[in-house]
Symmetry: C2
Subunit: 329 residues, 2 copies
């Protein structure tokens, strides 16, 4: 083992230990008594884990001996696995590091619009991840129920418009409730193709055909569709916005994301019946600034609206999520 030592005048000490097999360790001692030990090795995950644990046990034991047990706190964190085929780290919307129990890359393709990943989690089932954002897992019926109004709505005989929703979850659940007609407008055919194959616990068989008895799926940018419907005077009982947090458009006409979000809202209100309801996901509960900004947009629509919000635990998100219900005054 090679040892390299660096001593700062005022900042303590760093020792680097290098092993012949390519592993190395950093021992960083800060003057106020904080000791950080980092080990990096490249090897088989499970084999390496035991060896590393034994080594760290020894280090811990030795440190306790040297300090006569006079150590205030010891914390050992699980190893971070990097560089493998499987990426287990999908930070939350509020930027926290969380490790998922991903054990398989089921689907990984770039569409013209985004990167589409479907990863298998032992506990959540398959998870749809769009351009790095965890969208929905097969465990997440709670998301679909929340964005449909938490079981308080009667969809029977109703006209429903879904914006986005390519995983098919909302469509699948609403079709069960005997609506008059559901129109879903999803821009990305490849999301539908991936989900109808690998997210069947979410979408059932509803994506196998783009047309059913009481539904149709349009593979289109929702903005021109909304404009067309508004012009035709077509109206819906429910509009459900299930677009990605920053929606994709083939022709964004507005400069900022907020203006774009407001355009979608305005157009949606134009096709929403006076007693209709608009449902959408907001954001994680910790992003209070983003939520406030969103609510400000609601006061700037062409027509006055009111809203309520609900906080829901979506299993695969690992953070609480805010859902909005919006209606015309």
């Amino acid at each position: 083992m090679t040892e390299t030592v660096h001593n700062w005048e005022d900042h303590g000490y760093l020792a680097t230990y290098i092993q012949k097999n390519g592993s190395f360790a950093n021992l960083r001692i800060y003057p106020h008594g904080l000791v950080l030990v980092d080990l990096q090795s490249y090897n088989d995950q499970t084999k390496g884990k035991e060896e590393t644990d034994r080594l760290l046990d020894k280090v811990e034991e030795k440190m306790k001996e040297l300090f006569h047990g006079n150590i205030k706190r010891v914390k050992r964190l699980p190893a971070i696995l990097r560089g493998g085929a499987i990426d287990r780290y999908w930070p939350t919307a509020d930027g926290r590091l969380v490790e998922y129990d991903i054990d398989e890359v089921v689907y990984d393709e770039d569409s013209p619009f985004q990167n589409i990943k479907i990863l298998h989690s032992k506990q959540f089932g398959n998870i749809l991840i769009l351009s790095g954002d965890v969208n929905l897992a097969e465990s997440d019926l709670a998301y679909t129920q929340a964005i449909m109004g938490s079981g308080k709505e009667n969809y029977a005989g109703k006209e429903v418009l879904i914006l986005g929703g390519g995983d098919g979850g909302i469509l699948y659940e609403i079709v069960k409730l005997k609506p008059k007609m559901v129109t879903m407008v999803e821009i990305d055919q490849m999301v539908i193709d991936g989900c109808k194959k690998y997210m069947r616990k979410t979408c059932g068989d509803v994506l196998d055909n783009l047309k059913g008895e009481c539904y149709q799926v349009l593979i289109e940018d929702c903005i021109p569709v909304l404009k067309r419907y508004a012009k035709e005077g077509r109206m819906f009982d429910y509009v459900i916005n299930d677009l990605t947090a920053v929606p994709i458009s083939t022709s964004p006409e507005e400069d900022s994301t907020w203006e774009f979000l407001r355009l979608i809202l305005d157009l949606s209100m134009k096709v929403l019946k006076q007693d209709g309801k608009y449902f959408t996901q907001g954001n994680c509960i910790n992003l209070t600034d983003a939520l406030t900004l969103y609510e400000e947009q609601l006061s700037r629509l062409y027509c006055p609206v009111e809203f309520s919000k609900e906080i829901v635990c979506v299993p695969s998100y690992m953070e609480l999520w805010v859902f909005y219900t919006i209606w015309k005054k």
Copy 2:
């Protein structure tokens, strides 16, 4: 900046860059093309973050330039914060690294039985952590409802025994349902003291007095209490085991954890009416071996029992949790 370089014959390259302010970086290049950059600095969390992000942006840009954009994958993980007063990392039961949005240490004491922490999470409210295990957060009514039978039981006029449950959540919810009498047996007075002060969203005012109209709290080891009740022939409609995963006892009479768990189960069955129900938490859904072992214990009790299980999403756990219902055949 000081640079130290190590070249392995077969394992690539490690460069360590040391800054005058006490920060350092490791650049580890593996022969198959994996490049890992780790930065460690000691400074104010928010100030350091921006500076670090700028630096990593530059490194990323430079790398892309050098490789003519020919990079397969780039991933930057949120910084790990160590050594501060607030510890944000409480790994899941299945050993995954998860970061909580902890912003305050509300309570941190060692009782004669365990370390008791109550930490504040922005989204989950106060979280009770016993000897490093996340027990319950104020957001976790789902846990309490699950261990009470998920709303399918009628507690009115019933005799209920709670083992553990020091956070007061179960007691608080059952007392609302007009039971005949609830007896809660909690070994650790300090858990009750901490929770009645800092987990009021969970326990309401129920822990303010150890005796109420229809409940009593005994500060005792549950094993002798169960033995006493069994001897007296006292019977309950419901026994709810809310002890920690590895229960604490003042006088463990059995050698292994499993034998100890079986002792509790056997004694509980002795005080459970023939048509009564026993509820308990199991474990995280991924620990299949532990769950199987638990279920094996159930076939080895003094009386034959049947069981069902339910998988529940408890918000602060960040993993799905299994709950058991057990009844006499």
